[in-house]
Amino acid sequence: MSDRSLASRRSLGSRIMNPKYIMIYATIGIFLVMYLFGAISYGAQGFTTLRTITNLFVDNAYYGISAVGMTMVLITGGIDLSVGAVASLTGMFIAYGTTVLGIHPLLCILFSLVVGVGLGLLMGWVIHRLNVPPFITTLTGMFLARGVCALISRESIEIKHEMIDSLASWKIYFMQLKDGEWVKIKPISYINFNVILFIVVLIAGIYILQKTRFGRNVYAVGGNEQSAKLMGLPVGKTKILVYGFNGLCSVLAGVAYALYVKSGWNLSLMGAELDVITCAVIGGTLLTGGVGYMVGTLFGVLLKSMIPALITFNGNLLSWWGKIATGLLLLLFICIQKLVLGVTGRKKTSKTKPIKE
C-alpha cells in the first residue's frame, strides 16, 4: 500500500513535468508574455480590465468552436479545408431559410447539421476507403459548399427572426457589489450564447479525447496508423467519425457566426479554415498527427485573437501587421516544435537505462 502511494505521489510530481505538455506550456507562456506586454503598454487604456478577456471570447467564439473539431482532425494526421465554407453554408441556410422561406431557424439548423455532418462523414469515407489525400478531398468539399452557398444567393441576407434576435442579444453581464447594490462591472463585460456554446463544445472535445476509447483511438491513429492497425484498433471508423465530428463543429461555428453578424453571405469566412488551422498549430497541435490538446487549442485561439486586440489598443498600427505577426508566431511555434521533437528524439537514442529494483 505504501508502495502504491509513493508511486502515485511521484507520478503527481512528474505529471506536471511530463514532456508531453511542453507545447501547451509554450503556448500559455507566450500568451502570458503577450498579455503582460499589453498590460504594461496599454494598461492605462484599459487593457487589463475583464472586458479585454471577455471580448476575446465573444469576438472569436466561432473560431474556437471550429478549432475544437479541427484539432481532432489534425491529431489523426489529417486536415480539413472545408470548415469555413461549411460554416458559411450554415449561415446561408439559416438566413435564407428564415428570412426568405420563413422556416423556423431551429429547423434550418437541424438541416445544416444533417448536411454538415453528412459531408464530413462522406469526406472521411473518401479519405479512408479511396485513399485520396485529405487535402484534396476536403478542398473539393470546400468548393462544393461554397458553390452551393452562391447558388442559394450571392447577396448578403439579413436574418430576421425573433428567436435569433433574442438569442443574439442574450447576455450574461458580470456584476459587482457596489454600495450594497449589484451593478454591472465597468467597462461593461459580458459573455453571450456563443461563448457558452464554445465552452460546451470545448468541454465535449476534452471529454471525448480524454475519457472515451474513441478519443484515445484518435491519438493512436495519428501516432502511427500502421501500429494502430496491428494493435487491432478500428482505424477506419475512427477517421471517418473524426471528419463527421468536425462537420458538426463547423456547423455549430456557422450558427455562432450567424448569431454574431446576424446575416448570411456566400463569401463570409473566406480563408477561415487556415486561421483555424493556425490556431490549432499555435496551440501545440502537430500537423504530422498524434499530438495536440484542446486546452492548447483554447490558448491558441486566445493567442491568435490577442494580436488584433493589441493592434486595436495601439491605434497607430495598420491591422495588416496582425497577419504578419500571426505568420511569425506560426514560424516561432514550428521552430519550437522542431526543437522539442529534436530533444525528445535524442533522448530516445541515448538510451535511458532501466532502473532495476
Binding site: I79, V126, R129, L130, N131, V132, P133, F135, I136, T137, L139, T140, G141, M142, F143, L144, R146, G147, V148, C149, A150, L151, R154, N266, L267, M270, L274, I277, T278, V281, L287, T288, L318, S319, W320, W321, G322, K323, I324, A325, T326, G327, L328, L330, L331, I334, K338
Partner: protein
C-alpha cells in the same frame, strides 16, 4: 522511331481523362452558344477576339503558377503561399508605379522609378520568398504544407504594409501592355504564358532536372544514394514557384492597373493544385505532366466560362468545379487504379510469360 511512338502512348493514357473532359465541356459550350468557336479580328485593338481566346487568356495566371506547382507536387509537396505571393508582387509593382493624385491630375505615363525596376523587384522578392520556403523545407526538414502556410498567412499582410493598406491605381501604359496589350494578334498574357510554359518545359525536359524531380519524388532515399542532391532540387523548385507567382502577380495587377492585396491571387493555390491533379500528376509525387497541367488549368477556366453561359453566378462555379474534380479524383484513387492495374497486370503477365 518505335520508342517515340511508345512515349506518346504513355502520355496519351495519362491525359486521356483530361482530354475527354475538356472535349465534353467544349461540346456543351457549343450547344449552349453556337458561336462559341467563332474568332473575330478587332481592328481597333489589333487583337483576335473569341471565347476560346478568352478562356486561354483568363487561365494565364493559374497556368503560370501551376507550372511550378507541378514540380512541387511531383516532389510530393504542396505550396500554399503562391496566392499570397501574387498579392505581394502586385503590391510592389504598384508601389513603384503609383500615380500620385496630388502631383498629377490625370492618370498617365508616370512612374516613380525606371520601368525595369517595376518588373524586376517584384520578381526578385517573390523568388526570395520561394527560397525562404525552400530553406524551411530542405534544410529545416518541415512539411511543405506547414512551411508554406507561414508565407500564406504573412504574405497578404506584407503586401498591405508595402502599400500602407492603400489601393494604388496607375495609368502607366507600358505596364498596361503586360495584361491588356497584344502581340501577334494575341493577348499578351497568352504570349507570356506560352513563353513561360516553353521555358519551364525546356528547363525541365531538356536538362535532367525533370528526371531528378521525379526521382526525388518517387524515392528520395534511393535518389540520394544515386548521388542526387535532393536538397538542391527542393530549393530550386520552390524558388521557381515563387518566381512564377511573381509573374502571375504582374499580369493580374496589370489587368486591373491596380493592386488589390485582399483579392489578388485569392485561392490561386487551390486552383493551381487542382489544375495539376486534374492534369494527371499524383499528389503522392513522382511522374508529372506539364502538358496535363496546362490542360487542367484550361479545363478549370472552361468550366467557369460554361457555367457563366448558363447564367449562374461565377461563385457558384465552385460547386460544378467540385463535382468534376470529385469524378477525377475518384478515378485516380488507389482502389480504383488498383482495380484497373490488376487487370492490366494480368494482361502484362500473359505477355511476359510469352517472352521468357
Amino acid at each position: 522511331m518505335k520508342k517515340k511512338f511508345d512515349l506518346t502512348a504513355i502520355t496519351k493514357s495519362k491525359l486521356t481523362w483530361a482530354v475527354v473532359a475538356e472535349v465534353l465541356i467544349l461540346l456543351v459550350c457549343l450547344i449552349v452558344r453556337p458561336d462559341f468557336f467563332k474568332i473575330s479580328y478587332q481592328e481597333s485593338t489589333g487583337m483576335l477576339y473569341g471565347s476560346l481566346i478568352d478562356i486561354i487568356n483568363r487561365s494565364s495566371e493559374i497556368t503560370i503558377i501551376a507550372m511550378g506547382m507541378t514540380l512541387v507536387i511531383a516532389l510530393g509537396g504542396t505550396d500554399l503561399s503562391v496566392g499570397a505571393l501574387v498579392a505581394v508582387s502586385g503590391a510592389i509593382a504598384l508601389k513603384f508605379l503609383r500615380w500620385d493624385v496630388l502631383e498629377y491630375t490625370t492618370p498617365g505615363d508616370y512612374t516613380v522609378c525606371s520601368y525595369a525596376l517595376v518588373l524586376i523587384v517584384p520578381l526578385v522578392v517573390c523568388l526570395l520568398m520561394g527560397l525562404f520556403n525552400g530553406l524551411l523545407i530542405a534544410k529545416g526538414g518541415m512539411q511543405p504544407i506547414i512551411a508554406t502556410l507561414i508565407l500564406m498567412v504573412c504574405g497578404r499582410g506584407i503586401a498591405q504594409i508595402l502599400t500602407n493598406g492603400k489601393q494604388f491605381t496607375t495609368g502607366y501604359s507600358p505596364f498596361r501592355v503586360i495584361g491588356q496589350g497584344s502581340f501577334l494578334y494575341l493577348p499578351m498574357p497568352i504570349i507570356i504564358t506560352v513563353v513561360v510554359v516553353a521555358a519551364v518545359a525546356l528547363f525541365v525536359r531538356k536538362t535532367a532536372f525533370g528526371t531528378f524531380v521525379e526521382s526525388v519524388g518517387i524515392n528520395r532515399s534511393a535518389s540520394r544514394l544515386s548521388g542526387i542532391n535532393a536538397q538542391l532540387i527542393i530549393f530550386i523548385v520552390f524558388a521557381l514557384t515563387g518566381f512564377l507567382s511573381g509573374i502571375s502577380g504582374l499580369i493580374y495587377s496589370s489587368r486591373i492597373m491596380s493592386n488589390d492585396s485582399n483579392n489578388a491571387g485569392l485561392n490561386y493555390e487551390m486552383d493551381a493544385i487542382l489544375a495539376v491533379v486534374i492534369g494527371g500528376t499524383s499528389m503522392t509525387g513522382g511522374k508529372f505532366s506539364l502538358a496535363g497541367t496546362v490542360l487542367g488549368s484550361i479545363i478549370i477556366r472552361t468550366i467557369v466560362t460554361l457555367v457563366y453561359y448558363f447564367g449562374i453566378a461565377s461563385e457558384a462555379t465552385m460547386a460544378f468545379k467540385a463535382m468534376i474534380i470529385a469524378v477525377v479524383i475518384v478515378l485516380q484513387s488507389e482502389p480504383v487504379r488498383n482495380y484497373f492495374s490488376k487487370r492490366a497486370k494480368k494482361r502484362a503477365y500473359a505477355v511476359k510469360g510469352g517472352v521468357i
